[in-house]
Amino acid sequence: MGGLDQLRQLQQDFMHYVLGEQSEIVTQIESTPVLSAKDRLDIYATAYKLRLKEAISTDYEVLHLYLGDEQFDNVMEDYIAHYPSRITNLRYYSINMTALLKTRSPFNQHPVLAELATIESSFANSFDSHDRTVVALDELAAMAPEAWATLRLAFQSSVQILPLAFNSFEVWRALSKAQTPPTLEASSESLNWVLWRRADLISHYRPLDGAENAALSLALQGESFAVIFEALLDFYSEEETPMKAVSYLQSWINEEMLSGLSY
């Protein structure tokens, strides 16, 4: 073996070592009078873990506060073991955190953990999502009445619906202000929250009631207002429905959630 094959083998061996797997790389590293080949390689293996932990810690500060150092370190160790990085930009390394916390024991026995991770990753997504134009209310005024049925909405890419079964947003809010979090409890009414970024680049969030959640979910899927009217009939009478739909649309525009109207 020579040339590029030899280089490839060396890189694969090196990476196995860094990942803590079986590896032959030690034989290809020179020792020094004071440091063995293994000691020298361990500098890289240690740095690998530290770097990934630093990335995860930056992305999940509140989850870290909630769990404390020791438990959070367990989460990070588990994450790193399950997700060797397959991404280029470290910014996106920790995007599977919610999935890990939802599926892996013992974390999945505490649903608040996955919910806190969802909140934090949603803020991160919102923070650096695409810059798009913002729809103004007068664009709505310019619309002909018969256009309503076929109206479809385009949203800012920051707009995300977060399904939360617990008072996780209150817990998140308290912890991010360095306050004692409230007792954890299952939410009584609002299970869904919307989080998005306004034109001033600040992210906002608020709860959604059942009807607005249904309407917003359909609108985000690109459904027309005819479909949204239909869905709202589960919540309101035929007379109330059009007014409700219009008021949702107006508030989404006022809150700068929309990037375009098409009809």
Binding site: L7, Q12, M15, A37, I43, Y44, S85, R86, S129, D131
Partner: protein, 289 residues
């Protein structure tokens, strides 16, 4: 490109955005970490645009993985090209290293063996990147903690040969030379003496940490005296080279970092002539390379 001299710059860090935007401190230029702005939008890019309006910039990446035996990451290169169009940097750099193999990423700057096959591989890959970007790139020497039995030559010979064959330029990290010299037992001056002067486009300066017998390139301290001395040595050898300080951890207030940069200015002022230190014309300062 003949060597433009940009003067003395700093690495742009999020901790300093507000200070830079509000006070517009006197700094000749900023170096940005490309990956920090390879995101769809929002504040990172808004701040970047604001600061770019007031300062010349160069782009410095950590993810090109030019030495990997995986295929070049085309998605990354396309994003990089998009950012280059937005920023119009004076130049673009990355490291003489590999970061991933079999699509698994170490997110680290891993050293290469110094042999003929690796030189060919690197020269070829750098040429491909330069063709794609439509401009020469700068590559930076690493701090390293291992050496391979496979290596056939010293690092400086390896670096010089790649530069010669690919037509790329060098971002010479003075601290990395110092760190690697200590870790691999060579004289840092030997390294500097062997580098082709006309290819050196930029210097990095940084602080480091001792970890037992190894020096680790941590960028969490002030630049130390032996590195300042080596900087002076490099100036004597190469003449005026655009110089910046990298600080990535334990980041002090902007004014402290700016004061540290003044040490570099003072060393250059006593080592070189005023004529040598004349900053290249303003006309050069947007997308010149």
């Amino acid at each position: 490109m003949s060597r433009p001299f940009l003067g003395f710059g700093l690495g742009l860090r999020t901790d300093h955005y507000q200070h830079v935007i509000e006070h517009r401190p006197q700094v000749d230029w900023f170096e940005i970490i490309s990956e920090n702005y390879m995101v769809p939008g929002g504040k990172p890019l808004a701040n970047l645009d604001k600061i770019r309006a007031d300062y010349p910039m160069v782009m410095h990446g950590v993810s090109m993985s030019i030495g990997s035996t995986d295929p070049l990451n085309q998605g990354y290169l396309e994003k990089l090209k998009g950012l280059i169009e937005r920023v119009e940097p004076l130049w673009v750099s990355d490291h003489l290293c590999w970061t991933h193999v079999d699509q698994v990423n170490s997110h680290d700057l891993l050293p290469l063996p110094y042999d003929e096959a690796t030189i060919n591989h690197l020269a070829d890959r750098i040429s491909q990147v330069q063709d794609f970007l439509g401009r020469p790139i700068l590559i930076e020497n690493l701090s390293s903690y291992v050496s391979y039995t496979q290596s056939e030559m010293p690092e400086w010979a390896f670096v010089s040969e790649i530069v010669k064959r690919s037509g790329c330029y060098l971002l010479l990290d003075i601290n990395n030379i110092f760190v690697s010299a200590h870790n691999h037992h060579f004289k840092p001056e030997t390294y500097i003496d062997a580098i082709p002067s006309e290819r050196v486009m930029q210097f990095h300066l940084a602080g480091h940490s001792y970890n037992g017998d190894m020096i680790i390139d941590t960028h969490d301290h002030d630049v130390c005296d032996p590195v300042w001395a080596l900087y002076e040595y490099a100036l004597r050898r190469f003449g005026a080279v655009s110089t910046m300080i990298e600080r990535d951890d334990n980041i002090p207030p902007f004014t402290e970092l700016r004061a540290e940069l003044a040490i570099a200015e003072a060393i250059a002022a006593k080592t070189l002539t005023e004529q040598q230190l004349e900053i290249s014309g303003r006309a050069l300062l947007r997308g010149a390379a």
